[in-house]
Symmetry: C2
Subunit: 431 residues, 2 copies
Amino acid sequence: MKEPLKLGIAGLGTVGAGLLELIAKHGSGLEETLERRIVVTGVCARNRDKVRGFAIGDAVWFDDAVTLATDANIDCFVELIGGDEGPARAAVEAALKVKKHVVTANKALLAKHGMELAKLAEKSGVSLNFEAAVAGGIPVIKMLREALAANEVKRVYGILNGTCNYILSKMQDEHLAFDDVLKDAQAKGYAEADPTFDIGGFDAAHKLALLTSLAFGTKLPADQIHIEGIQTINAADIEAAHSLGYRIKLLGVAERTSTGIEARVHPAFVPEEAPIAQVSGVTNCVAIEGDFSGSVLLVGPGAGSKPTASAVASDIVDVARGLVLPPFLKPVAQLKPFKRANLSGHYGSYYIRLSVLDRPGAMASIAKRMGDRGVSLESIVQKKPGTSDAAAPVVLITHETTEENIRKALDAIEADGKVAARPQMIRIEEL
Amino acid sequence: MKEPLKLGIAGLGTVGAGLLELIAKHGSGLEETLERRIVVTGVCARNRDKVRGFAIGDAVWFDDAVTLATDANIDCFVELIGGDEGPARAAVEAALKVKKHVVTANKALLAKHGMELAKLAEKSGVSLNFEAAVAGGIPVIKMLREALAANEVKRVYGILNGTCNYILSKMQDEHLAFDDVLKDAQAKGYAEADPTFDIGGFDAAHKLALLTSLAFGTKLPADQIHIEGIQTINAADIEAAHSLGYRIKLLGVAERTSTGIEARVHPAFVPEEAPIAQVSGVTNCVAIEGDFSGSVLLVGPGAGSKPTASAVASDIVDVARGLVLPPFLKPVAQLKPFKRANLSGHYGSYYIRLSVLDRPGAMASIAKRMGDRGVSLESIVQKKPGTSDAAAPVVLITHETTEENIRKALDAIEADGKVAARPQMIRIEEL
């Protein structure tokens, strides 16, 4: 029997509580599996006096995360504090410097400081594991770092934000407006009081940054991800998607192109017969397209106390087994610079929704502007204007073209004054 | 830089060719990732003189697999010969005995001799990796052995045989009869001349045996899996499933119950809105339900030269990284005996199709027999008999009950002489 693995856990919120519950329930089973005990020797949280629904057993209480992270009586520091600076960053850096393994669920910290932290981990010869940072209970980090490591990845994409997927699913299933569903999601605790971080696509972008580095063996893209949120999606878009055989999902997509890597977060049309179209509610999914593996899709709970605790525990299991890998697929020195592809060169089909003013020749002028840019149309759906509205909704599906052509055509249409509002444009993702 | 990892590859069929192609294409990228070269030092196949579409480079040719497996100049033996006895078994055993790591895609060998081989591997302190043995390019072994190792698995299930899924998908999409689709599948190379191994469910059962041991930490169930094939599924069943909001899939299911583990391979109704219902053609999928992770679904190519080579390569990557794990989740001494649950206690809903003879009181007598066993019906669909047929097809969907009740009720209905053929019974799987 090997020496026990001694954990210091900082942060006793929902994930920390889930992890302590998991260790209490499965500790003896894990001991059989690992031939090694996992022991929580220290814990730390903001408020020692808070009443919690679980016991910390024989663990020593620390008031300061850095002190816990560097304590001689821990082998592995588990950071569940959150935040990209402050005590989380200080404690993780301190732990790595004194050769403690680190397990963290902190996507914001990693998206911002991942490269420096990975260098520290490599220098000390310890693990920096972060399975729980992306897509909750879905083991996508292990997929990219290990299972598909012998592939050249062509594209990785997924539904990475449960809040957005809940809102879009409910808008579709119950024919509700965005604002009403957002209020419901806030009441249920699926969305924050200030929902910008989720619905604006920023949370998904943090996760996509980590996936991009792992998939393509590049440095983190940091602020080089194109981000659009779901705020502009309305019931007419949801309805049009449905009638055309699609679903609207907020996707994070990173794709190898001839000019670099396209990394983008935006609402997208996906074909309703694709398995990803059936991923609804707060469920997440990630698909990885390797040149040998083909497309491998993973679907599962994207958040929650228990699924996230499961992911954290799998990282701890790897540490207990002595598996130490470069945090981002390859040693930092081998990671290539992130080369961003210009999104104007993105090639694909598009959904366009226009509010066409009822003026003579409006449709002809729109068609001409599209034709001028070489954009051909697969379908046009024109509806009668509502009684109180002089503008008629027109939905277009284009054949494949570049984003530059679409944007220039739409700019020209808007400048012509034939539409009552800024055109809606949603990319159709080929799956 | 560490010493190169030296491979001996036995078997140069489609998977062996795919693996050599992968190593040729991605060898230098892998060297960056692993800080270690992967070198093929020896190969072996049945016929040295066969013209192959690839070069074996500097590798030494061996006529005998056991000689290659024990050669001083290899570290890791890759077995791609196939078969549960003969040279595959002899070479794998020989390799393990002389402390060579083993990577194999051979599900039949493992399902039959996995426990002995795992003991040999443990004794020698080497790896016995078999990612490619189940579900091709889908990394389900790594999921169970590593990513979800800190969970108590409640159920694992999946579409494990591409041939069956191709046949069932095509029957549904093109409204064709079983025999016609089977002939088409044989012509396309998706089914063997003797298709029994696939369509009888035996291939899926081999894979399920491995998944069961890994999911529940038990010894292999060997011949204790309940197996039904897809031969009895006809167009009427496919059509009825569709009209009731289901799809028919050949599933392998292993589930923890209060009396033991239910391990079963059979056609099943799955709700059409479940992601698994959208898994069509030769694609495979596996879902794992952990008590903390929740349900994690993996979807991907179930076979083929490249996806299988990707899985073999991921096993080699693990060997190159020095990761040596117990082959079946826990050390063999810690594996519990496989305790089979009696399928008569299976609790669920059922689809029943009867050919009811047009006699007075037939339906009343059928309803009474169901009632006698406490089986209540959710729906009854009765169709007019075809012109040339005196029997009318009747489709029943039951509420949840035990399999014993269903079987006894159906036996009584048959004994009553009110049906023209043996009743069709298909389990409805709750997802």
